[in-house]
Amino acid sequence: MIAHLPILQVILPLMAAPLCLMLKRPQLVWVFALIASGLAFVVSVLLLQQVMTTGVISYELGGWQAPWGIEYRIDKLNAFLLLIISGISTIVLVAAQTSIEKEIPKDKHVYFYVLYLLSLTGMLGIVATGDAFNVFVFLEVSSLSAYALIAMGQKRQALWASYQYLIMGTIGATFILIGIGLMYQMTGTLNMYDLSQRLPEVAQTRTVFAAFAFVVVGVCLKLAMFPLHLWLPNAYTYAPSIVTAFFAATATKVAVYLLIRFTFSVFGVSFSFTTIPLETLFMALGLVGIFVASTSAIFQSNVKRLFAFSSIAQIGYMIVGFSLTTVTGLTATLLHLFNHALMKGAIFLALAAVIYRVGSVELTNLRGLGRQMPLTMAAIVIGGLSLIGVPLTVGFVSKWYLLIALIEEGLWPVAVLILLGSMLAVVYVWRIVEVAYFKEPLDKNVIVKEAPLSFLIPIWALVIANIYFGIDTRLSVQVAEAAAQSLFGGAL
């Protein structure tokens, strides 16, 4: 079965989804979904091990040779992402059952798990595949399930947020489709590896330039990169908390992956960054994104929304690292992918616990919670410290690498700006700490209990991971560095 790992990765959650629909009892479905996601995680661990020792794994679907059939191509980069996605999905699912009890009507629980698994399938499929058109298909699987999941939110704004996301997402996907079409027209192939071999021949044509532009803009729409981020805050704020935790930790990562995959592997470093001044543009947008989004975060009164803006700022950091086009810069981006998933997973899960107990995450509702829900609030604080980049947390590691990368290139002003950006994070995290620990509760007669164990276990698993990978950086750095190096090696 070892030879079939790449396909099992995607097929496990995929087949589990329709089976869920047959089980009917929400309790049972939850256990089943958890098992499916857990198995996918095990597969991803095995895959990563295999890739680290033997190198690229290619899997031909239907037994047809690569450019004719569809190929799954697992290298260090996507093995790393598969691990992040399936891992976070499993941890978040642990808390799902308790959380949706309060947020989603009973008769929709089964559908929730089905859509959750489909969304997971979509993301894994995008990452694992080596075929450009297959990316589009699985992109739509994950997006459609995302729209439906977001629309399940309690408030009516969730519907509007989901609609906006649907429009933006579909435009983005159609742009990617146009880009793929243009590439296909110039090369006659859809396989990514084959594309990377054949594109250099026609790299000077205007058609390829247009193809590149469409793919990049399309991916950036999905990525919510500044200034194309407008759909994200609403979507994150009004989606059910579990969905927010899952998406905040994974969905944008998949888009970052696509961006890296298309610019580095498919079009090639030399085309993406020498023919077109992409790096300057991206660095500028990344920096502006950090500042605008962090500043907006400071003025939010809804904590979920606050952290949604913070997510956009964090994407800015990833883009800056990416725009350096050096091995260290890319390592920083990949590390931040991993670390950001840990931080945001922990924070949004903790917020889900707050919603479970208090019913809302307006800043005023958090008053005095530091004493009433000590463990949950401590998790938010540690996650926040990690966002700022305090030593001994994962956030520090990725910021550190980013700074080194910038200094290597002699970009001192940018490094200073990055540090200033982190100061803004201090401000918004402090606002939460102040309210939670130094303000009296609004109504002293209401006693709020600590979150149930089904929340605390996954939350603290992520928090401990936050600290563990902040101290013992061997695993994450090693993988990220190897992945970055292989991308510059040119081969897929």
Binding site: R156, T170, E440
Partner: protein, 131 residues
């Protein structure tokens, strides 16, 4: 030579009509119609690149040498399905939005949301004053 590209340009014009409709119109259904037009035009673009002069439909038969390229046809079959799936989901969102807001005009919905936020802010200030 430009005549040969004429076909592409028509398709582009159609695409842009659709895109314009999505961005500029406030009515939610009209936006979805725009999206459908946009997508359909992309389909036309794919299909027109599969055409070979003197070729026939890609169903094997005796005595025919030239066939049109079957691959874009396959891709577009898939894309059409994706398109209808998106449209269906979008429409069901519109129905729910109509129920929740009583309107399907973008501006009216945004106004209602802003109004709602203002009200929220007021009550919050009051609560804090009381505390």
């Amino acid at each position: 030579m430009l005549i040969d590209l004429f076909n592409h340009w028509i398709v582009i014009t159609l695409m842009m009509c659709g895109l314009y409709m999505v961005i500029a119109h406030g009515n939610l259904i009209k936006k979805l119609v725009g999206l459908a037009v946009f997508q359909t035009s992309v389909f036309i673009f794919y299909i027109s690149m599969a055409k070979v002069d003197g070729g026939t439909a890609p169903i094997l038969a005796d005595g025919i040498v030239h066939y049109s390229n079957p691959l874009p046809h396959v891709l577009i079959l898939t894309a059409i399905v994706v398109g209808i799936a998106t449209t269906a989901l979008g429409l069901s969102l519109v129905v729910r939005i109509k129920e929740a807001y009583g309107s399907i005009e973008e501006e009216e919905i945004q106004q209602q949301d802003i109004q709602h936020q203002k009200n929220n802010a007021h009550t919050k200030v009051k609560l804090e004053e009381e505390a």
